[in-house]
């Protein structure tokens, strides 16, 4: 039984350390592949264009609305005053 416990310990060392190393090796490969793919096929726009990131079309619309709403509010305020 005690012999057994030590064996279990060494098996845990072997399979555990093995899994950690294999997993992180695969992660190195996957990460490198991911970075290469993104750099080649989906590069970020050049810096000046990227500052307002493309995916967010909404904010522009929001700003327009905001301006509109503020303008309307001011108009109403003046009319009332």
């Amino acid at each position: 039984m005690q012999q057994d416990l030590l064996t279990q310990g060494f098996e845990l060392l072997l399979y555990g350390m093995g899994t950690v190393v294999i997993f992180l090796c695969l992660l190195v490969l996957a990460t490198a592949a991911m970075s290469k793919t993104i750099e080649r096929f989906f590069p970020e726009a050049t810096v000046p264009a990227a500052k307002p990131p493309a995916p967010r079309a909404a904010p522009a619309a929001d700003d327009a609305e905001l301006v509109a709403v503020i303008t309307a509010a001011i108009r109403q305020h003046r009319q009332r005053g």
């Binding site: 030590l6 310990g9 060392l13 899994t19 992180l24 992660l27 990460t31 970075s35 970020e44």
Partner: protein
């Protein structure tokens, strides 16, 4: 006079056992280390305070209703429990506790009904422990918050530093051998599940250690958590001598090439790549690494800043308070004051030392065979203990070469170490916990 006697008997002084007094002192010591010495105060202040609360004689704040009933030793209740648990009536509380632990869920329910009817209730810290730790929720929520605070940029700029995160986990598994060895020598008495949970101390990652021991060795959780956080706080003392011993002055002076710029998209996709890899290879690590990746994705994706912000502040703080108090509930004297605790403290520091050494040695190897120069000092950061270990690497680098800024380079293996120990935790759970 009856009331006066009742009051005196219900006072702490009348019920104080030496063990409880000692544990209160240990709790105060943890508070002193946390407050005065700055040892991981965010965790050790609640843990230390919880430890004091847990050992208040007569309050039973860390006991379940069943444990309270066994400690109160009311003859009628013990008699009823002995019948339910099919134990001789005069077996005593210890035998009853053992029989209860071995009983099935239906018997647990029946015993619980008897003690509730007898007026015993679950203590406050026991409730906190059930909700926060026994459910597995608190360590996972903390891991989500840590994910939301983690920047994978340095790791993505130099993915090979993941190897250092792997190497440093050797400390975990070497400690497992140590624990089973001590048991074989008859010095300690650990099962293989205990040994696995103790090894995780070497992961230098608090929530991972708590999560694993809540699953594999709940009785050792208090000692394991205290060891993990104490040694994380001691990283600036434990690591430097080992790092100096294993490297030459020349190696410590190596300047590393500057990192490449990592794009936002890489940072968004990386947690998903990691998640998929976990899903395909090691589902047992999925709760831990899943929540970690979720936190990181919330941070990096840029469209849920209010959630990311809450995960990094209100939510992680609330969880930390209850996690700490709950860990403290495991510092109750009759669970903590055991020779096994000394073994855990001893093995824990061995685990840190071996992890540090493995990281440095593999870094030396990589420096020899890699294209770019690699300062072996960053190898020690692979144990995790974010960001302390990376700071230690930086400090030793600056000592050897005042223009040598290793901090960002060391952050790569540092966060890799978090992934590495979560993977190791997954292996433990799937091999031992099944």
């Amino acid at each position: 006079m009856h009331n006066l006697e009742l009051l005196w008997n219900s006072s702490g002084l009348a019920q104080l056992h030496a063990g409880q007094g000692l544990m209160i002192l240990i709790g105060l010591l943890l508070l002193f280390l946390a407050i005065r010495k700055g040892f991981e105060p965010l965790l050790l202040v609640p843990i230390g305070f919880g430890g004091v609360l847990a050992n208040i004689p007569g309050a039973g704040m860390a006991y379940s209703a069943v444990e309270s009933a066994l400690h109160a030793a009311d003859p009628a209740t013990l008699h009823a429990l002995a019948q339910l648990l099919q134990v001789p009536v005069d077996a005593g509380a210890k035998a009853l506790q053992a029989a209860y632990d071995a009983a099935d869920t239906a018997t647990h329910l029946a015993v619980r009904q008897v003690v509730l009817d007898a007026g015993f209730t679950d203590g406050m810290l026991y409730n906190f422990y059930s909700v926060a730790i026994a459910s597995g929720a608190a360590p996972l929520i903390i891991f989500m918050g840590v994910g939301a605070m983690t920047d994978f940029g340095p790791l993505l700029a130099n993915p090979k530093t993941l190897f250092l995160g792997a190497a440093a986990q050797f400390g975990i598994f070497a400690t497992v051998i140590g624990a089973v060895g001590l048991t074989e020598l008859g010095v300690m008495d650990f099962t293989i599940a205990d040994a696995a949970a103790i090894g995780i101390i070497g992961g230098a990652d608090g929530p991972t250690a708590i999560y694993v021991s809540s699953l594999l060795a709940p009785d050792l959780l208090g000692a394991i958590a205290v060891a993990a956080y104490s040694y994380m706080a001691l990283v600036p003392m434990i690591q430097p001598p080992i790092m100096r011993a294993l490297t030459t002055e020349e190696e410590r002076r190596i300047e590393m090439v500057q990192m490449r710029h990592v794009s936002r998209r890489e940072k968004i996709v990386f947690p998903l790549v990691l998640l998929i890899l976990v899903a395909l290879l090691l589902p047992a690590a999925a709760p831990l690494l899943g929540m970690f990746c979720f936190g990181n994705l919330m941070k990096e994706c840029g469209v849920v800043d209010r959630l990311s912000d809450t995960a990094q502040h209100a939510l992680i703080n609330i969880t930390t308070i209850f996690l700490g108090l709950s860990v403290g509930s495991k510092l109750v004297a009759d669970k903590f004051l055991d020779v096994n605790t000394l073994g855990i403290l001893f093995l824990g520091i061995i685990a840190f030392a071996i992890g540090t050494a493995s990281g440095v040695l593999i870094a030396k190897l990589m420096n020899r065979f890699g294209k770019h120069p690699l300062n072996p000092l960053i190898g020690s950061a692979g144990v995790s203990a974010v960001p302390m270990a990376a700071r230690v690497s930086n400090k030793l680098g600056l000592e050897a070469n005042p223009h040598n800024f290793l901090l960002m380079h060391a952050m790569g293996p540092n966060v890799a170490g978090v992934i590495g120990s979560a993977v190791a935790a997954g292996v433990m759970i799937s091999l031992v916990g099944g």
